[in-house]
Amino acid sequence: MRKVLAVVRREFVTRVHTRAFLIGTILGPLLMGGMFVMPILLSRQTQPRRIVILDGASGSFGARVERRLSAEMRDTVGAARPRYDVRRVATEPGRLAAVRDSLVALTGRAGAEAPGPHGILVLTDSAVATGRLQYVGTNVGSPGDMGALQRSLGDPVRLERLARAGVDPAIALPAMGPIRLSTLKVSEGRVTGESGGSSFALAYIMSFMLYFALLIYGMQVMTSVVEEKSSRIMEVLVSSLSPFEMLLGKVVGVGAVALLQLAIWAGTAMLLTTFRVQIAGLFGASPTAAALPLPTVSPALFLVFIVFFALGFLFYAAAYAAVGSMCNSVQETQQAQVPVTLFIAAGLLTMFTLLGDPSSGLARVLGLVPFVAPFVTPVRYSFAPLPLVELLASAAAMIAGVIAVVWVAARIYRVGILSYGKKASLADVFRWVRTA
């Protein structure tokens, strides 16, 4: 046991001392902080969109649209600012195309004194009936801009239709008031105050953290096995340690490094979300602007996440170690590791399936499949705490999977670490596993 600890310590200390670990550990939180602060800074920079309404429609349709767009506000840091800078140009329907083309020539033109418009909104009488409106502009590629514009146009078009049908706008307007569905998540029998969006965000963040940690640290296990082989230190190790001790020490040591890094990242994320109002304040943002869909993590979820990460890591790192033992060089591993990596990718992909219905029968079954369970169970738990029975069943399946993989991996490893020369074929590997 003391020997295993020596291996664990070696793996841990040499890795934590590397520059790569330091950079990765600092860069993670910096990126997270950046993701939090950048939108605030960006929204401060955004100018109102200059829109020309080319009004070829009869009646008050054009004026209605102009009123509506002028009233739209952007949720900006500090004080709300208008979203649009609107000018209306009335035209006869016959000259519509010609005027539009001359305006297009100005569109997107830069210049401090008289910058051209961002785009032109064309209104016609037929548009009221069909609901087909035309907008030509430089910013049509921005889903945010176009979504907002389309939402803003819904009300004036419908009001115009009602008005033309003879409905008094004074009655129609309040009747068309917006409906808002406020979603609040129930967790452990209590309303948590979280929105539905934050549940999605949490599922994404957790899955990607798992994905990257399994991939990066799993590969580190594989590479270090190959390096031990090619540097020939393996022979010295094998004479004093059993292959199983070596495998165990390596996987646990690297796993501890991964856990440390995840803990630092998760800790930073928790601090950021806890003090988001204060941090937003530093950048001059209002508390409401800081109300991003950021999730809060319960200790129970944290525990489930860590336990399933640890089990998943044992599962995949053992497989990666076996792959490393079959190869003679890092180049050779490129190809050999593909099957293992595909399984991890499959785990990540199941998350997208789960988002649709995390409590479906399929989700329940996937929780019992070892190679995807490290993703499935924490994600499902993040939507709603699972019954203890289900949680234990998933953990038990995972443990059984870990035992099976470690058993097979240890047998491949035991032979593989001392075989040099050609890369092991699949037939070789089967023989290694079978021989006692």
């Binding site: 070696r10 040499t14 540097s231 393996m234 010295v236 004479s239 340690l241 075989s419 020369g421």
Partner: protein, 325 residues
């Protein structure tokens, strides 16, 4: 041999397509220096790997300290493999501490001992440096330290002096001799007979996986018998070659160029050879009646062709190490 620290009994090891070790039986007595000799590809490294439990024999038994060989005994053995290797990115002292720990030393003990050894071998200033910053010779020294750090009862060295310059080589030899003086046992393999001749009390010579010679060096030489003369020429070697071709005088010649080792024919005397050489006008700086060298014993027992093992076997022994450990 009652008090054998290591005993091999009918050990066989087969690799795909050829047999590397064929029924090897030997006993290494406690204390002293034991040489495992043989040409390249004779099975020395394979035998040592089996002794160290890196690979397991297909047949036969290996007994260490009177017990069946197992990894449990590794703390009492120091092992320097033929292919050296260290973690390149580790600091020198940390590396020694780690290897010491795998041999059961506590961290503290391993650290003090490691420092002491580094000091002794002139590597004190390098203990905080990474292994990859060291020269190849220094790395060899570090690896050598790791094999003796835990003061093992048995030290197994596979080709310990290969790749060392004469200064470092002497330093290592002195340590080996010191270990033997302390009553501990050193088993080392080499294909350089002169090295073994200088250091070993007992030897085993193997060729093609089989034992050819076994015993104390003095006994081996006495039993081999024959009369040998060592010659060093200063001039007129052509004339010497004609004299040495006389089969009534000389049974065999081992020609090294400037020197030669000659086995006298049965009934011939050294004086007659000296007379013949001087008469022929050969210049000599050395003419000495000696015992057979291990080299000539080896050539006589194995045949000159075995000294150079078939290339295919030698490479196979090294490359296709499919093992069932």
């Amino acid at each position: 041999m009652q008090d054998a620290i290591l005993r091999l009994d009918g050990v066989v090891k087969r690799f795909a397509g050829h047999t590397a070790v064929r029924g090897l039986t030997l006993a290494v007595p406690r204390g002293g220096i034991f040489g495992l000799l043989g040409p390249n590809g004779a099975g020395k490294t394979t035998s040592i790997r089996m002794i160290m439990n890196v690979i397991t024999p297909d047949e036969g038994t290996i007994t260490l300290f009177g017990e069946p060989a197992s990894r449990e005994l590794s703390a009492r053995i120091g092992f320097l493999p033929e292919e050296r290797g260290l973690y390149k990115k580790m600091e020198v002292l940390d590396h020694l501490v780690f290897l010491g720990e795998t041999k059961g030393l506590t961290r503290h003990d391993a650290r003090t001992r490691g420092s002491r050894w580094l000091e002794r071998l002139g590597l004190r200033d390098w203990e905080k440096r990474k292994v990859e910053d060291l020269s190849k010779g220094m790395q060899q020294k570090v690896q050598f330290i790791s094999t003796v750090l835990h003061e093992p009862e048995l030290v197994v060295l596979d080709e310990p002096f290969s790749g060392l310059d004469p200064v470092n080589s002497r330093e290592m030899k002195n340590i080996v001799l010191e270990i033997a003086r302390e009553g501990r046992t050193v088993l080392f393999s080499t294909h350089i007979m002169e090295q073994a001749e200088q250091m070993c009390e007992r030897i085993v010579i193997i060729a093609r996986g089989e034992k050819v010679v076994d015993g104390a060096v003095a006994d081996v030489k006495r039993e081999f018998g024959g009369q040998f003369v060592a010659l060093t020429f200063t001039r007129n070697k052509e004339a010497a070659r004609r004299v040495l071709a006389d089969r009534t005088l000389v049974a065999r010649v081992e020609d090294y160029g400037a020197t030669a080792e000659v086995e006298l024919a049965a009934g011939a005397e050294g004086e007659r050879l000296l007379l013949a050489l001087v008469t022929a006008g050969v210049g000599l700086s050395r003419f000495e009646v000696v015992e057979a060298s291990l080299h000539s014993i080896f050539i006589a027992k194995v045949g000159a062709e075995a000294a150079v093992a078939p290339a295919s076997e030698a490479t196979q022994a090294r490359r296709s190490e499919v093992v069932h450990a």
